[in-house]
């Protein structure tokens, strides 16, 4: 963002191949437009080989844990620059391994305004929604190998949809921000057959500030309302859902950095609670059995990440999910997975990571997973690397 328009022009010329010009000028220009490539990979080991289902919810697409053994996680290319004095553009393209083939996914591709008056900003395109706290955090910025369980179970990962976002920041010393998003609604928990292409809406409000020099906080409330039409879930026997899905999220983050210096020691505490209600009909695609359905699922996580010395951090994350669903018609037990309330899925993770510099990170994680039906426990072990090449975009709070 911090760049002189002239430099963008020079960088553009350099990209076209006239590199000698850029080389003759100050070398500062060679990082513009800001380009970065994120390299990530994991080694994973699981003690259980049971189907990774979660009791009480129908999981959306791409919610499986990382493959066992060695695997490349998404390779992410990010390009960003000011378009001109009014617009800023950002694209992040992910290359992912899907069933042995490389899939190209446009994770984000948006344009946002630089110069709207009165504290307003508009963003259009495809972007990570401002839902919750972690929804907009790119994989390389996660504090654990995987997203919290509530994201996996209730949002099928992160919501990145096509649409528009309007955001307003108040001119006050207490940080106060409100925003609304109108989205296509093609992403889980919406999705399915195409509707009119604007079926989801998000509203969010954030408050934040400092307490003294060493403490800062942010609290957010957000809500997603979307519609699903024949949304298919489940790998072997698909279940289709048609109806309304609503999620409310409370997120709290508190950061401690002694004297405002996070580089020596720091602590980040993060809590999110989500509550999802779904109302509509379910169809078991195999038997054709249909039922009215009211889903009521809630979950939360609490995580703390402590940097105990420069470059080294430890983290603990505790998670819980609870459901209370109503299925009117279940003649042959087709919807048993939704009705299993014998116990609440949960997960506990510890991680240790080391960052040689702010551009490289190596991580170990152990998770005790108790999310599957029938109280099946899984001990999960991960080794991960995250590396970023090039000009690294500044991270949000």
């Amino acid at each position: 963002m911090i760049q002189h328009p002239v430099f963008s022009v020079v960088a553009g010329i350099a990209l076209l191949g006239v590199t000698s010009l850029a080389a003759a000028q100050s070398p500062g220009r060679s990082f513009n437009p800001k380009t970065s490539l994120i390299l990530q990979g994991t080694f994973a080991d699981y003690s259980s080989d049971a189907e990774p289902e979660v009791s009480g919810v129908l999981l959306g697409p791409e919610t499986e844990p990382r493959p066992a053994g060695f695997s490349l996680a998404e390779t992410e290319l990010v390009i960003e620059a000011n378009v001109d004095d009014q617009f800023h553009g950002w694209a992040s393209i992910a290359l992912e391994n899907e069933d042995g083939e490389t899939a190209v996914a446009v994770e984000e591709a948006y344009v946002d305004t630089l110069a709207l008056p009165a504290g307003l900003a508009l963003k259009v395109g495809r972007f990570f929604s401002e839902l919750g706290y972690q929804n907009h955090v790119h994989a390389h910025g996660w504090d654990f190998v995987d997203l919290p369980l509530v994201y996996r179970a209730l949002l099928a990962g992160q919501v990145n949809d096509d649409g528009a976002q309007l955001r307003w920041v108040a001119p006050t010393d207490l940080f106060f921000e409100v925003g609304v998003e109108a989205l296509r609604g093609s992403e889980f928990p919406g999705g399915g057959d195409a509707g009119d292409g604007s079926e989801a809406g998000v509203a969010f409000v954030h408050l934040g500030g400092d307490v003294g020099e060493s403490h800062s906080w942010r609290v957010g409330l957000s809500h997603l309302a979307t519609e699903a039409s024949n949304r298919l879930t489940g790998e072997d026997v698909p279940t289709a859902f048609t109806g309304d899905s609503d999620i409310g999220i409370l997120d709290v983050v508190y950061k401690w950095a002694p004297g405002g210096n996070p580089s020596q020691r720091s602590f980040v505490l993060n809590f999110e609670a989500m509550h999802r209600r779904e109302q509509g009909t379910l169809t078991d695609e195999l038997s054709g059995v249909t039922s009215d359905y009211e889903g009521d699922q809630q979950g939360s996580y609490l995580q703390g990440v402590y940097k105990f010395m420069p470059r080294w951090r430890v983290g603990l994350r505790l998670e819980r999910l609870r459901s209370d669903n109503t299925v009117a018609n279940n003649p042959g037990g087709e919807f048993d997975a939704l009705l299993d309330d014998s116990y609440d899925p949960g997960r506990a993770s510890v991680m240790l990571d080391f960052s040689n510099s702010e551009f490289s990170r190596l991580r170990l994680q152990f998770s005790r997973d108790a999310t599957r039906p029938d109280d099946e426990k899984d001990n999960q072990f991960f080794v991960q690397y995250v590396m970023s090449l090039g000009s690294h975009p500044a991270h949000q709070f």
């Binding site: 911090i2 001119p171 010393d173 934040g208 004297g259 405002g260 210096n261 510099s357 991270h395």
Partner: protein
């Protein structure tokens, strides 16, 4: 009537009061300079303290809230604040201070940059493509920035232009006198070999003639390891140094580790306004810096 006054109040809230120029300074030195040049015509908010590592500041909600209200952002630039200022710009929704707008002032554009790299490669550490961004450590740089900054203040707030120019002239006169005094005091420092913690005092060394023989960080931004410290220690046997310098915000341990082994003093430099007792303004910052350097050089064997 009530409706009209409510709208007026809301408009005032949205546009902000036009009484004093709201200044957002990224670092204390520019906050202090804005005070010198702006007097009562400006309201200065300084985003960081001299005890913080300005490379690693989080884009906290409180900073976004202040950025949102600013009429002028004074930054060092040259990528010093690249870890957080872009995030503030992105979330702060304030076109008055967007890069390229008159309300965005980058100090580095007004001084001669040192250590501009020939090659950009991260294996060299967190190198800054525009050169070493710690420009405030040489007093002549402050003067080079004061003039253009006063002009910018006058441009943004033409009503008080005369006041900004008058204060700038007065500041220049006082600063020139101080420069003569500091340079005379610092004569004994000419050619004195020193060890730095981070490569953050290059402008100070170039100004006063100190000689950096080693740095405790193996590469800029990479914290000192024991292995590297051993190497520095070995090197210092051949090429001794008179003191180890550490900025107030930096970890004391590596400097102490080295100092204990070769019996030279560790000198803590304020690094900016507010980094030590007696550095409430820019004059005090350089008074204390030179005083401590002289003590360190004199106290050596």
């Amino acid at each position: 009537m009530i409706l009209r006054s409510t709208i007026a109040a809301l408009a005032a809230l949205v546009s902000g009061p036009a009484l004093a120029l709201d200044i957002f300074a990224t670092v204390p030195e520019w906050g202090a300079l804005a005070h010198e040049l702006g007097g009562d015509d400006v309201k200065v908010y300084t985003a960081t303290t001299a005890l913080q590592n300005v490379h690693h500041i989080q884009a906290r909600p409180s900073l976004i809230a202040k950025y949102r209200q600013a009429d002028l952002v004074i930054a060092t630039g040259a990528d010093l604040e690249s870890g957080w200022l872009p995030a503030l710009a992105q979330k702060g929704n304030n076109p008055r201070v967007q890069p390229g707008a008159p309300g965005f002032f980058e100090a580095f554009r007004h001084v001669k940059m040192l250590e501009v790299p020939e090659v950009l490669d991260r294996s060299m550490g967190d190198v800054h493509p525009y050169g070493n961004p710690h420009i405030q450590t040489a007093a002549p740089n402050i003067l080079a920035i004061a003039g253009p900054l006063a002009e910018r203040l006058a441009q943004l707030d033409p009503e008080h232009a005369a006041g900004y120019r008058a204060r700038a002239a007065e500041f220049e006169q006082k600063w020139r006198a101080a420069l003569v005094r500091w340079e005379a005091q610092a004569k004994p420092l000419m050619g004195v070999p020193v060890v730095s913690t981070h490569r953050d005092s290059s402008y100070l060394y170039a100004w006063l003639g100190l000689k950096e023989v080693a740095t405790l960080e193996p590469k800029p931004g990479i914290p000192p390891s024991v292995g590297h410290l051993e190497k520095v220690l070995e090197g210092l046997k051949k090429q001794p140094a008179r003191m180890v310098l550490r900025a107030a915000y930096q970890d004391d341990k590596p400097a102490q580790w080295l100092a204990e082994r070769i019996q030279i003093p560790v000198v803590e430099l304020p690094f900016s306004v507010g980094g030590a007792k007696g550095t409430d303004d820019l004059f005090g910052y350089f008074d204390v810096t030179i005083e401590r350097l002289l003590q360190g050089a004199g106290g050596a064997k």
